[in-house]
């Protein structure tokens, strides 16, 4: 049993870290732009496909492909913001939400048309290898996913905390008008936020695509879960999203460990209901943690 607990600790961390990549972008877009982007899961799916095409068709190294995916889908995200959300800058939350649903349907159907519904496998360099941690064998694949996500989250934290762009992001989040008065190009910042959000989701898609398989509907559940996690963490809170993601990952994993897999997909609903009942503003909803 202790072996399984160690494995579960790692499995939960892996799920949690993937959710974190998804949720952080989702919450940034909401916190700064007040847009609930329900196409987030589709960006994740695009990341899976982008990685697949590079790795399996063009034989590019997996990690290089991930970085390229981050950039390509990031740039795509930037233009999505410009084309779809910029014209809706002063529209209500509901309108942008509907626009994002439209976008999500558009992307998933487009991919379905272009690539078909077939599942694709991304070959991972260390697939099938394992190392021993505390006497328990743990898959290298999962460890790599974990390290990469941790690195990206830390990198994002560093960018937000110390770079000029990061400061502009925070300033915009805290007071858009005041940031504009400082000379922050708000439109550019919004584009950058969307790019970051899309890029991180895409990397999550590529990583998960290597662990699972890639198909046009792969983004649906993770997109929903990211939304629930952001509600759990407090809409707009980055720290909340990270913590929420870990809680979510562990809740799912330990549900499978101690109960049964079939309850795993219910965990999200239960968390959602509990949060809405007892703390609708989420864990960090009251405080702005930027």
């Amino acid at each position: 049993m202790s072996e399984q607990i160690i494995q579960a600790l790692i499995n939960g961390l892996v799920s949690g870290s993937i959710y974190a990549l998804m949720a952080v972008g989702f919450t940034l877009v909401f916190g700064i732009m007040h847009v609930i982007n329900l196409a987030h899961g589709e960006l994740y799916m695009l990341g899976g496909f982008s990685t697949f095409f590079m790795v399996s068709i063009y034989q590019i190294n997996f990690f290089v492909a991930l970085i390229a995916t981050l950039i390509i889908i990031g740039v795509f995200g930037f233009f999505i913001e410009k084309i779809i959300f910029k014209p809706l800058r002063n529209a209500s939350l509901l309108n942008t939400l509907l626009a994002s649903i439209g976008l999500s349907l558009f992307i998933s159907n487009l991919v379905l048309k272009l690539a078909g519904s077939d599942m694709r496998n991304i070959e991972f360099p260390f697939s099938g290898q394992s190392i021993s941690i505390l006497g328990t064998s743990v898959s290298v694949h999962r460890i790599v996913v974990l390290l990469l996500t941790a690195f990206l989250v830390c990198l994002l934290g560093w960018v937000i905390k110390y770079t000029k762009v990061g400061k502009a992001l925070r300033a915009t989040a805290q007071d858009t008008d005041a940031a504009a008065l400082m000379g922050v190009n708000i439109n550019l910042i919004y584009g950058i936020i969307f790019a970051i959000s899309a890029g991180l989701a895409a990397v999550a898609g590529g990583l998960i695509g290597s662990l699972y398989v890639v198909d046009p509907s792969m983004g649906m559940m993770p997109g929903m879960k990211a939304f629930i996690i952001v509600i759990l963490g407090g809409m707009g809170s980055v720290v909340g999203a990270l913590l929420g993601a870990l809680i979510f990952g562990y809740a799912e994993t330990f549900t499978t460990l101690f109960l049964e897999s079939s309850y795993q997909e219910l965990v999200g609903f239960i968390i959602l209901i509990l949060v809405l009942l007892f703390k609708p503003s989420g864990l960090f909803g009251g405080v702005n943690t930027k």
């Binding site: 399984q4 599942m119 929903m224 499978t256 049964e260 959602l272």
Partner: protein, 401 residues
């Protein structure tokens, strides 16, 4: 708007979305296989999932149904008396959801006035559709969903043209015996089909001294199997018996390999081996045994049919079942001698003695068919088919065990 209010609103929306995702987009898919040249047509309704998490089997069978309709229409149509009719397909996407499946069925019968309905992808959907067909006295066939609960509902207008789970169960038992497996880990869907199969397998294995040392259900939407597989690895199971559709099955295979799990995985749902070897490299699928529905690929009829597809190597048993369902209906219409009498059509369906690509279709009073399943074994990325278990060479068995 206050933060609290906002997140409450957001939460509610999330909830609404979770419950209704996709429902909104359900009716847009009225793809029609057209005739429109003025001749008389017979409408056939198809209700299968072509989007959502389990879209694959529905898409395959639907693609084959379209090909079959084209073939029939081009070669003189359905001959009833001295008249000849063309088939017209009306399809609605059921998205793998019972709500969408029932809506699709109502619409097909009430609005499109189809003569028969073929559906659906999952047994849960199909079970919800049967009462509607029954109430409207409209013949209904399934080419994909295969749980015994369906034929056990006692519906007069429902007939199972997909290969029967009951037949498959014996096949599974034989398979275990052939390979001399005594301890099995069973992982199965928690939907109607998965639960029913698991129950039947449990009973059959127990009667044959095959021990199920681990059993767990999971949701069809699930992709993460790490912890469940860790639990399996901690048992002394000799084989994993997985009752799941291909979407989940592929993930399961992949993560088993990633986790370094050495024991083989067996298909307990008639999954499409052809598809799996296409998706996954040989080291993932080697030793995979598919129980029930892999078609005989070497026969001439099969080859000719496969040639009609862009990627013939991907044609699988769901294509064959789909194709058979249309030809079975053609045969039934011609024997019924009417293009409009649903009752006569129903009688003719039940009285079928029809040779399809899957085998010979005859039905008992419950609407169960008599198709025998074939065993497919994947060796180094290639599928070997065996009509009888005795045909499997010992060295193949040894190399997998």
């Amino acid at each position: 708007m206050g933060k609290r209010k906002l997140s409450l609103l957001a939460g509610l929306m999330a909830f609404v979305l979770l419950v209704f995702t996709g429902c909104s987009g359900s009716s847009e898919t009225g793809g029609k296989g057209g005739s429109g040249d003025g001749g008389d047509t017979i409408k056939i309704g198809i209700a299968v999932a072509t989007s959502g998490a389990i879209a694959k089997t529905g898409q395959d069978s639907l693609a084959a149904q379209r090909v079959a309709v084209e073939e029939i229409n081009e070669s003189g149509g359905v001959k009833i008396g001295d008249k000849s009719y063309k088939f017209e397909l009306v399809h609605y996407d059921t998205e793998g959801k019972a709500e969408s499946a029932t809506a699709a069925t109502e619409r097909l019968i009430q609005q499109d006035k189809v003569m028969a309905v073929i559906g659906a992808s999952t047994s849960t959907e199909t079970a919800a559709m049967i009462p509607i067909a029954e109430r409207n006295k409209t013949p209904m066939l399934t080419a994909v969903a295969a749980a015994p609960v369906l034929t056990n509902m006692g519906a007069n207008y429902f007939t199972s043209a997909s290969s029967q789970t009951i037949m498959a169960i014996q096949k599974y038992v034989d398979g275990m015996k052939n390979f001399d497996y005594k301890k099995v880990a069973m992982l199965h869907f928690n939907d109607e089909f998965g639960m029913a199969t698991a129950e039947a397998v449990n009973k059959a294995f127990a009667e044959n001294d095959i021990e199920i040392v681990f059993q767990e259900a999971f949701a069809p939407t699930q992709h993460e199997f790490g912890t469940m597989l860790d639990k399996v690895a901690a048992t002394d199971a000799e084989v994993i018996f997985a009752v799941a559709q291909i979407e989940s099955f592929v993930n399961l295979l992949k993560q088993a390999k990633e986790k370094g799990i050495k024991i083989p995985v067996r298909d307990g749902a008639g999954g499409a081996l052809e598809e799996m070897i296409k998706i996954l490299p040989p080291e993932y699928t080697h030793g995979l045994v598919g129980g029930s529905r892999s078609g005989r690929v070497d026969a001439e009829d099969h080859k000719a049919f496969r040639a009609k597809f862009e990627e013939p190597e991907l044609v699988n048993s769901f294509h064959y079942s789909g194709r058979d369902s249309i030809y079975l209906l053609k045969d039934a219409f011609e024997r019924a001698g009417s293009a409009t009498d649903k009752e006569k059509l129903q009688e003719a369906i039940r009285a079928s003695n029809f040779d399809g690509l899957m085998g010979n279709y005859q039905f008992n009073e419950k609407g169960e068919n008599s198709i025998k399943s074939i065993t497919g074994i994947v060796l180094d990325g290639e599928i070997h088919y065996y009509e009888k278990d005795e045909d499997i060479p010992q060295d193949v068995i040894d190399s997998i065990r």
